[in-house]
């Protein structure tokens, strides 16, 4: 029994030591584990790709950081950052005042309008009146959820919350909800897909509300990580200036994703 205990303790120490060694020096870039094309989605070989993944790697390269992409469930992405499971978030996370109470953000690296995607069979638009009696789906812990609750809760029949935007799209295609609200690029990509073409169309942009929607999407960081924040801000500026940002964006979009 004693010998057994001894081995167990040694093995335990070894595991802890090994884990400690593995975690040094690299910056873990958290992305949402749920596919969000064209920003981030895994291909069949399990490799993550998309505009945001490329952009994150470009930022890292510019800042001379050794980065690894680490998928984390969207639902737990902020706790993961706070408990240092990841060091930064590049998961299309909008900069908002609410989030700033808990985490810090870099400067924005893109900003796109918010649109409502609705079923072809349903007549509606992206205003509180147009939403009357409709079932709207949004992804939890997004600015869209907050926006929908603030502007559409009074008129919409129901606001359903999904763990991922992908599931909301799926339920829209299945006819379980009448519309979903999200970032215009993700919505346009879905609307252009086979499933999307068959069921849905863009119903319009929502009225801006800077208080909720924020100035754009930034890299999420821990509050005490000012050194990393500065590095990343410089890197974002760097790739904006040296043309790398545009080179990557051109492969995905035919307009300026950085926004005004």
């Amino acid at each position: 029994m004693k010998a057994f205990l001894k081995t167990a303790v040694t093995a335990g120490t070894l595991i802890v030591a090994a884990m400690g060694a593995a975690g040094a020096e690299t910056i873990k870039v958290g992305i949402a584990a749920e596919p969000y094309p064209p920003f981030a989605s895994p291909d069949a070989s399990g490799k993550w790709q998309g505009w945001e993944v490329e952009m994150a790697m470009a930022i890292c390269e510019e800042a001379k950081l050794d980065c690894v992409i680490t998928p984390v469930a969207w639902d737990g992405i902020i706790p993961a950052l706070l408990t240092k499971k990841i060091d930064m978030i590049t998961a299309s996370m909008s900069i908002t005042e609410d989030r700033k109470k808990t985490i810090d953000f870099s400067d924005k690296y893109y900003n796109t309008p918010t649109v409502v995607l609705g079923s072809r069979d349903v007549e509606m638009d992206a205003t509180p009146e147009g939403m009357k009696g409709k079932v709207l789906g949004v992804q939890v812990s997004t600015v869209h959820q907050v926006y929908a609750k603030k502007h559409f809760a009074d008129t919409a029949a129901e606001i359903k919350e999904y763990q991922t935007q992908d599931e909301a799209n799926q339920d829209l295609a299945a006819g379980r909800i009448d519309a979903t609200q999200a970032d215009s690029i993700a919505m346009e990509t879905f609307a252009a897909s086979d499933t999307g073409k068959a069921c849905c169309e863009i119903k319009g942009k929502v009225a801006d509300d800077i208080e909720v929607l924020g100035p754009g999407v930034g890299v999420g960081l821990r509050k005490d990580d000012t050194e990393l924040k500065e590095k990343i801000n410089t890197a974002i500026k760097g790739i904006r200036e040296n043309g790398k940002y545009d080179a990557i964006s051109k492969e995905y979009f035919n307009f300026d994703i950085y926004g005004g």
Partner: protein, 275 residues
């Protein structure tokens, strides 16, 4: 494979055999004080200022959790009786499908079953316009019918296995005696076989109900707003990680306590002398 059939874990206070400790031994007082201290520390040091804002939502979530639990347990049990009977005494043509059903349900994760029903089946519906035109569609487009269906089937699968053992375990002599009295087959089933089988399965029911309670949070992944989903929303709205989870754990502990208590009362009501 009969031996590895479902085994349920009963949550009952353990009898410590010969050295039964007294109710309030000194160390228990110390343990209780430590426990109270932890609770007090949790209340004092952690953030609870969000509670008033979510009070209504929490109650709604609690109600939905209990509602789903009760409905699926009752429906599941009603389904488990024929499943158990088919396996224990039915002809092959019903025994084999029942067997397969129980194996499949118990052999795959509930989370996967739930997603298969909701997203998998749901993605097939749009291909058939007549489904969307039917009167059932207003129900089919909501999430709770899928949650109830998945949890009911799951409960039926596990409890069906228990009922199989319970039906098989009723002594043959009882049934033979009933037949000798000239009872009709259905009367035998209703008066002798079923009550005794249920009585045998009763101790497992509390355990199964607790397991079912523990399965209910999964419905939050298909947009049903139960107690767990409310806690998730608090976490996401406020970015407070631990407090809602702790409250959640406490909530489930209390519900478990209530379930165990109710079933013990129920068992106490039924005279326990088996032939």
């Amino acid at each position: 494979m009969a031996e590895t059939a479902v085994q349920t874990f009963r949550i009952t206070p353990e009898k410590n055999g010969a050295t039964q400790t007294r109710r309030l031994a000194p160390h228990r007082i110390v343990l209780a004080l430590i426990g109270l201290g932890l609770v007090a520390a949790a209340i004092y040091f952690l953030r609870w200022d969000w509670l008033p804002d979510y009070y209504d939502l929490i109650l709604q979530g609690l109600w939905r959790t209990i509602w789903i639990l009760v409905v699926t347990c009752i429906l599941g049990f009603l389904l488990a009786v024929p499943l158990g009977l088919a396996q224990a005494a039915g002809p092959k043509i019903v025994a084999v499908p029942a067997r397969i059903f129980c194996t499949v349900i118990r052999g795959t994760p509930l989370l996967l079953q739930l997603w298969l029903l909701y997203y998998g089946l749901g993605s097939l519906f749009p291909q058939y316009p007549w489904i969307r035109g039917s009167e059932l569609w207003p129900y089919l487009r909501q999430a709770w019918p899928y949650a109830v269906l998945a949890l009911t089937l799951s409960y039926a699968g596990y409890e069906g296995e228990v009922m199989r053992g319970a039906f098989a375990g009723v002594p043959k002599g009882q049934l033979e005696a009933a037949r000798a009295f000239g009872m009709r087959r259905f009367t035998i089933f209703r008066r002798i076989w079923l009550p005794q089988a249920i009585h045998r399965a009763l101790p497992t029911l509390a355990g199964e109900a607790v397991l079912q309670l523990k399965a209910t949070p999964l419905v939050a992944t298909i947009t049903v707003v139960d107690l767990y989903a409310v806690a998730s929303r608090v976490r996401q709205d406020t970015f407070i990680t631990y407090e809602p989870l702790l409250l959640l754990a406490a909530g489930y502990l209390v519900i478990t306590g209530v379930i165990v208590f109710l079933f013990r009362r129920l068992e106490g009501l039924i005279p326990s002398k088996l032939g």
